[in-house]
Amino acid sequence: MAVIYDFALQGAQMLLVLLLAPLLTGFVRKVKARLLSRKGPPLLQPYRDLLRLMRKDVVLADNASWLFRVIPYLVFAATWVAASLVPTFRSGLMFSWTADLIAIIAVLGSARFFLALAGMDAGTSFGGIGSSREVMISSLAEPAMLMIVFVIALIAGSTQLSTMAAFMNSAEVGLRVSLGLALIALTIVAIAENARIPVDNPATHLELTMVHEAMVLEYSGRHLALIELAAALKLLLYVSLIACLFAPWGIAPAVVAPIPIFIGVAAYIGKLAVLGALLAVFETVIAKMRVFRVPEFLGAALMLALLATLLRFVSGSF
């Protein structure tokens, strides 16, 4: 019985992240539009877009290979699996030990690796420019992310997200310099990883500074739908990660009881709304930066995270 219950909860988590991801994207777009005094598309527009794209034919470039057709499924599967492993409304889910935070980051790395390959498959210069810039950005964002993981893992004594969340929710944490630095670094990394302003602009298609959109330019129909959905899931994953590590309040512990789970779901949706709104505000007030300013931006994250790690190594009290 308990196994079935656990299994159902894990399934619920997978479905929840899949269903909420387009909503979060739509919500951020809506808030941004309202901040710019536009009416903005309806909240459910991303779902409609996805359904419409799914039903359309795929137009493949003449020399696209089998890899090009497999990659959308691969990227989507990897991102979905990663997103389902981050605690959202309840910690200690059935398969939460499958991958710790380092492995989750690496699974996302696999998704990016293949997406960058897809950009090069058609042999257009736009795809190449997108892929080469994407790997440049990731070559700084990934080490920064790993350093952030180190900081939190050293504080919590674990790289297991459920254990980390439980620790961050306990009274032992307190205010720490290293955690503050890690939060700033994590925010920068999350913005870069999700191709948000000021690193990249998710709303443009025709501008040379674009990175992610240039990479997926050749995709259409159901392939494009999967890639958009994977992007939405990735945004949700990073927001959930920040929520789970730095605002772990309300996450239900690993017990069998319905009330904490309802509280957990409500708290999770609330956190998504707050963080999504913050992202929209941030994107509205800041300007897009030149692509070669991005390394400085990400280098700052790397340095902050490294500083925080050094502080942890030097003394346990920071």
Binding site: L60, D62, N63, A103, A106, M120, G128, Q160, F313
Partner: protein, 674 residues
């Protein structure tokens, strides 16, 4: 017993060399197939040796030794198989067997088989002997045999000037490395000449001597393995050899060098000092990042792979450094974890680097070029090679669910244990090395996106690439076998970690917890609440969700496909020249890291208006290590040689005076010696 069988195997390999020469020299009836005979025999012998070593590693019988009446008269030649040598024999012979299988197909395209066939089995035998040797004399002799036979293979294609230069640099560096190892063993053996490893283990050298030994061993083994700044020969020599030999040099011989270091630092010298690890960690971290940055700047496919070997060696040495640090402070379980990470990466790297070199060799045979700027679109012409090469790229980029990630993950878990180390130097060094390793992992992913994307994706950049043909079945079999092993180690790492337990038990006095009993075959280095990873489930989840999604979408939404020209924001010029090239792909990273590391400069010339001259863009990269470390030494040696050249043209009287003077000086020194 075991060691006797192993030596018989090695002897068979050595005997293959004259047989190969005989077959090649004596034209028998019809067309003698020396290639098939030699590689087939090598395949069988190395497979037997592999199984033997595997048996020793898994069943761990007591160490088996033998002393042959060869070598130095008062010493004899000692050989021995213990868990450490058994593990490295597994690595050596698995790589050798794969290379022999590959060469059954690839070797047929060899232009001058007489320059490869006699040396190949000797090279395999020498690598086995280094690992088997149990005294300093046999070790150094085998080491030198390994260097010389591989040198002969490097210059197999001797008509190309760059290969001869590569061979020259390699020979110099190999001699230098052997010299430092010789000094290192000499210091360990002491004044009595106790060269047997047992005698060395029993004697405990003084602190200063031990330190000197470690530094010399690090230089000697490190120059063979490719530690920065001793790596300069590696990217020249590894690509110059035929591809199956490149695979062995990069995938296996560098591991034999790692074995040499482990044997000296962990086994022969006894308890380590903490600061040794500081040196090893720093060198490892720097090597990892420098190696991959160099790799990103290359346009020769095999050279990319050679530089990436340097990166992986850095990773291995960084883990070894951590293991030394933990061992020095008596944290045995942590030392076992770090050592397991290093050894597992040794095994993993031998798998995927051989696989990638085989793939590069197949590309070279069917297109005739290693220049990435002339390749492209090979996924259509060589679909199977592309598939296995992609698996190799994913594995080496440390991406789950393949094997490269597992060893990388274990290294990071070991780093996370290191705040408990008491020394301040290490407290500051370890996080910095952690950051360097993370950076190198991310850059490696970029490097292999570039390698695969430019060579196999897009459109062909030359007519030869457009007319390439799929490679032969033997080569494909070798590549598929290695790719499958990569996947198996990636999804069932617990079995392989457990197999390493006797080695860590022997060297650190502890082992990682038993993994095969863990739930769902996860790996749990310390405790499940602390960290765990399950490659099998990650793989299964990804496959199931991916396939279910594909099925659902095809069934319920749409499964139609239309073909059209590439969109590219307005149907651009279809010429393959409009694609991103290897150097343009590297441009963003060159701009971020290259200006500091390589003094990268882009010089563009724009002709004046009206002129029809083409505009040009030249990229200048400087190899600072070569310019500041190697060039001055080379220049100094050359200028001294120039001056001493004068001595060659003296009269007989001057020579006699010189000889007499030398005699007097020596006698004076002897007389006044305290």
């Amino acid at each position: 017993m075991m060691v006797t069988v192993a030596l018989f195997g090695v002897l068979t390999l050595v005997a293959l060399a004259p047989i190969a020469i005989a077959i090649l020299a004596v034209p028998l009836s019809g067309k003698p197939n020396a290639t098939g005979f030699v590689y087939g025999a090598c395949l069988i012998v190395t497979l037997i040796l592999f199984l033997l070593a595997l048996h020793v590693l898994l069943e761990h019988p007591a160490a088996s030794t033998i002393t042959l009446p060869l070598g130095l008269p008062w010493l004899g030649a000692h050989f021995r198989i213990d868990p450490l040598s058994a593990f490295f024999l597994v690595v050596v012979n698995l790589g050798s067997a794969a290379a022999s299988l590959y060469a059954l197909g690839y070797g047929r395209h060899e232009e001058a088989p007489q320059r490869v066939l006699p040396f190949f089995p000797v090279y395999l035998a020498a690598m086995n002997l280094v690992v088997l040797a149990d005294d300093a004399f046999s070790f150094l002799l085998s080491w030198e045999l390994m260097s010389l036979s591989s040198w002969a293979l490097v210059i197999a294609d001797h008509r190309r000037a760059e290969n001869m230069r590569a061979g020259y640099v390699y020979l110099l560096m190999a001699s230098f490395g052997t010299l430092t190892l010789l000094l290192s063993f000499g210091l360990m053996a002491g004044g009595d000449g106790a060269y047997a490893f047992d005698a060395i283990r029993a004697s405990h050298p003084a602190l200063g001597t031990a330190a000197l030994v470690v530094i010399l061993a690090l230089i000697g083994a490190g120059s063979k393995a490719g530690l920065v700044p001793l790596h300069a020969w590696l990217p020249l020599a590894h690509p110059a050899a035929p591809s199956h030999v490149s695979a062995l040099m990069s995938g296996v011989m560098t591991k034999v060098a790692v074995y040499g270091f482990i044997r000296i630092a962990f086994d022969l010298l006894g308890p380590p000092q903490w600061w040794w690890s500081l040196v090893v960690l720093a060198l490892g971290g720097v090597t990892a990042v420098m190696g991959v940055l160099y790799a990103l700047m290359q346009r020769d496919l095999k050279r990319v792979l050679a530089y990436s070997t340097i990166e992986n060696i850095g990773l291995i040495f960084a883990s070894l450094g951590l293991a030394l640090a933990f061992k020095a402070y008596g944290m045995h379980v942590a030392a076992a974890l770090a050592l397991t990470a290093a050894l597992l990466h040794v095994f993993n790297h031998s798998l995927f680097k051989s696989l990638l070199f085989f793939g590069a060799g197949s590309v070279l045979t069917s297109t005739g070029t290693r220049d990435m700027e002339k390749l492209g679109g090979l996924i259509h012409r060589m679909p199977q090679t592309a598939f296995v090469f992609l698996i190799g790229c994913t594995a080496i980029a440390a991406l789950p669910p393949l094997n490269g990630f597992v060893s990388e993950w274990l290294s990071f878990q070991a780093i996370l244990l290191s705040p408990q180390l008491p020394s301040w130097g290490l407290k500051l060094m370890v996080p910095a090395v952690g950051a360097l390793l993370a950076l190198s992992a991310a850059l490696a992913a970029a490097c292999f996106v570039r390698a695969f994307g430019i060579v196999f994706l897009g459109r062909p950049r030359s007519s030869k690439a457009g007319a390439a043909l799929e490679t032969d079945t033997n080569s494909l079999a070798a590549m598929y076998a290695l790719a499958a092993t990569c996947l198996i180690v990636g999804i069932l790492p617990g079995i392989f970690i457990d197999a390493l337990a006797p080695v860590t038990q022997m060297l650190t006095g502890a082992r990682m917890p038993v993994q095969t009993g863990a739930e769902w075959m996860s790996i749990v280095p310390i405790a499940e609440s602390r960290s765990s990873y399950n490659g099998l489930l990650v793989f299964v989840f990804m496959v199931i969700t991916g396939m279910a999604t594909a099925f659902a979408i095809h069934r319920f939404a749409s499964d139609k496909i239309r073909r059209g020209p590439a969109w590219g924001c307005g149907y651009p010029d279809a010429s393959p020249l409009t694609q991103y090239s290897a150097s343009s792909f590297a441009q963003p990273i060159r701009r971020v890291f290259g200006s500091l590391v390589f003094r990268a400069r882009e010089i563009g010339t724009m002709p004046p208006p009206g002129s029809r001259a083409p505009a040009t863009l030249t990229v200048q990269l400087r190899d600072l290590i070569w310019d500041f470390a190697y060039a001055p030494v080379a220049n100094a040696v050359a200028s001294i040689a120039e001056r001493l050249n004068y001595l060659q043209f003296l009269t007989i009287r001057s020579y006699l005076t010189l000889v007499f003077a030398a005699l007097v000086i020596l006698l004076t020194v002897l007389a006044t010696w305290p």
